[in-house]
């Protein structure tokens, strides 16, 4: 049985994601403004960074249910009889292990084992895949794949046809009236009469779903989710939530210059398969990386930020104030010798030496 993604149209001459000169808006822009959101430019879009406040939204997701407009993210269809072989060569994880209705976190790697993007690949059927990619990398990923697209595969950027809502939190399924389902699966369904792709994925560490719908249905879906008691949440809370879980952010913690092994993403690399840069990743894994991406918490009152030096040759790649721990937290690359949990670090916070400590992932763990 072949499940088709809704509204998936095969078009000749796929549209290229152009570098936009002006800021784009998601179909929910008016909703955000009406809710009093603070709107900022992000990845070429005018996006809500917060509504009521970052900490309040953060706690809503940890304790109940929040909804994020993540329609700025890119959706690429990769279809055709050779699509699976092609994706297996392009992506770090083992696409062959994906079943229909399955989803997989994976990396698009370059020849040096660097990370062009981290993304989720969804399989709908034999030769029918959807890639959900970071907004800021949409053009890069599309260009990378299009350039290498083999006969029998069509890569198509459908980002403008879809909206994506992340509904996350321990009460999210209850509020949406959805049954529980295994993580990293997806199915077609209906919510408030709207056809949606229900993905058991997220970026918060909480139970929840990501709902993909036709762009034109987004306002009605958003209204339905809000009417069921979800708290609107902005990109600010999305960042603090993901950092408490140590989920890397592309552009901060992982880049085309950082390799997957040093970034502790070896679990998403099937090194027994052949994909771009795999030889380099095997070498780094065999020799052991010189630097590793580690999570840390501040031992003193201070908020670490991206780019701050870590004594001994390291650097903060993400930092914020954790609403749950009420202290500074972050991730950064440190020499491998300093990467073990409990190692003391010293972060240069605008000229002031502030103590931090390497911790195990995740930085925040729920008492259950």
């Amino acid at each position: 049985m072949q499940k088709r993604f809704p509204h998936a149209r095969s078009v000749n001459g796929a549209r290229v994601a152009l570098v936009e000169r002006t800021l784009l808006r998601t179909p929910l822009y008016e909703r955000h403004v009406a809710l009093g959101a603070r709107v900022v430019p992000f990845a070429g879009y005018e996006m809500p960074v917060q509504y009521a406040g970052v900490s309040e939204e953060h706690r809503a997701v940890r304790g109940d249910c929040g909804v994020f407009d993540v329609s700025h993210m890119g959706e690429l269809h990769v279809d055709g009889p050779t699509a699976q072989v092609f994706l297996q060569e392009m992506l770090s994880n083992d696409v062959d292990r994906l079943e229909d209705g399955g989803a997989q976190y994976t990396l698009l790697t370059n020849e040096r084992g660097g990370i062009v993007d981290d993304l989720i690949v969804y399989r709908f059927g034999r030769g029918v895949f959807l890639l959900v990619v970071n907004a800021s990398n949409r053009g890069a990923v599309y260009g990378w794949l299009k350039e290498r697209e083999p006969r029998g595969t069509e890569v198509r950027d459908a980002s403008d046809e879809y909206a994506l809502l992340a509904v996350q939190g321990p009460r999210s399924l209850e509020r949406l009236g959805l049954p529980d389902a295994p993580a990293f699966t997806h199915e077609m369904g209906e919510l408030a009469g709207i056809e949606v792709m229900i993905c058991r994925t997220g970026y918060t560490g909480e139970k929840g779903v990501e709902l993909c719908c036709a762009e034109g249905d987004a306002p009605a879906l958003w209204d339905a989710v809000l009417s069921r008691g979800a708290t609107p949440c902005g990109l600010g809370a999305r960042d603090t939530l993901r950092l408490e879980m140590c989920y890397p952010l592309h552009g901060n913690d992982i880049t085309p210059e950082t390799d997957a092994i040093s970034a502790e993403l070896g679990w998403a690399c099937a090194l027994d398969t052949e994909f771009t840069g795999v030889a380099e990743l095997r070498r780094i894994k065999g020799e052991g990386p010189a630097r590793r991406l580690v999570p840390f918490v501040m031992e003193e009152r201070a908020v670490p930020r991206q780019g701050m030096p870590i004594e001994g040759g390291g650097e903060v790649t993400s930092g914020t104030h954790s609403p749950m721990l009420d202290r500074g937290i972050g991730m950064g690359y440190v020499p491998a010798a300093s990467a073990a949990p409990d190692t003391e670090l010293v972060v240069d916070v605008r000229g002031k030496a502030r103590r931090a400590r390497v911790v195990k992932k995740p930085i925040y763990r729920k008492e259950s």
Partner: protein, 131 residues
């Protein structure tokens, strides 16, 4: 939690969105409603040490929210007599009560004549309206 917008008449203002409450030769300093609203919920206050001096128009500390960090500009010059430890421990007090519990430092002015150069509430409101 966040306070409603206000700019009390009894305060003097610096265009960089700082306020001063002048009492004799002492002054209490803080950031305005506009400043805290622009920053969002504060999570860190890097305070100066008691006994150090602050100079009008220069930074004497930092306030930081989840998404931004900002220098705090002194509206007046003087010696730091007291730091609001409550704000060091719970920076969000500034969002809840920017002109009361959210004061930042108390100083002894070295040049009380500087007060005359600050904006009154009406002028500051006009300044904010242009932002």
């Amino acid at each position: 939690m966040a306070a409603p917008e206000s700019y009390p008449d009894d305060l003097r203002y610096h265009p960089e969105h700082d306020w001063a409450r002048v009492e004799g030769d002492e002054a209490t300093l803080g950031i305005t409603w506009f400043a805290q609203d622009a920053l969002g919920e504060l999570v860190h206050y890097e305070a100066p040490d008691v006994g150090t001096t602050v100079s009008k128009d220069a930074s004497y500390g930092e306030v930081e929210s989840v998404k931004a960090v900002s220098d705090i500009v002194a509206p007046l010059s003087g010696e730091v007599l007291e730091v609001n430890q409550k704000v060091v421990d719970e920076p969000e007090v500034v969002n809840e009560d920017p002109y009361g519990g959210g004061w930042l430092i108390r100083i002894r002015m070295s040049d009380p004549g500087e007060v005359g150069g600050l904006l009154d509430a009406e002028a500051y409101r006009a300044h904010v309206a242009e932002q």
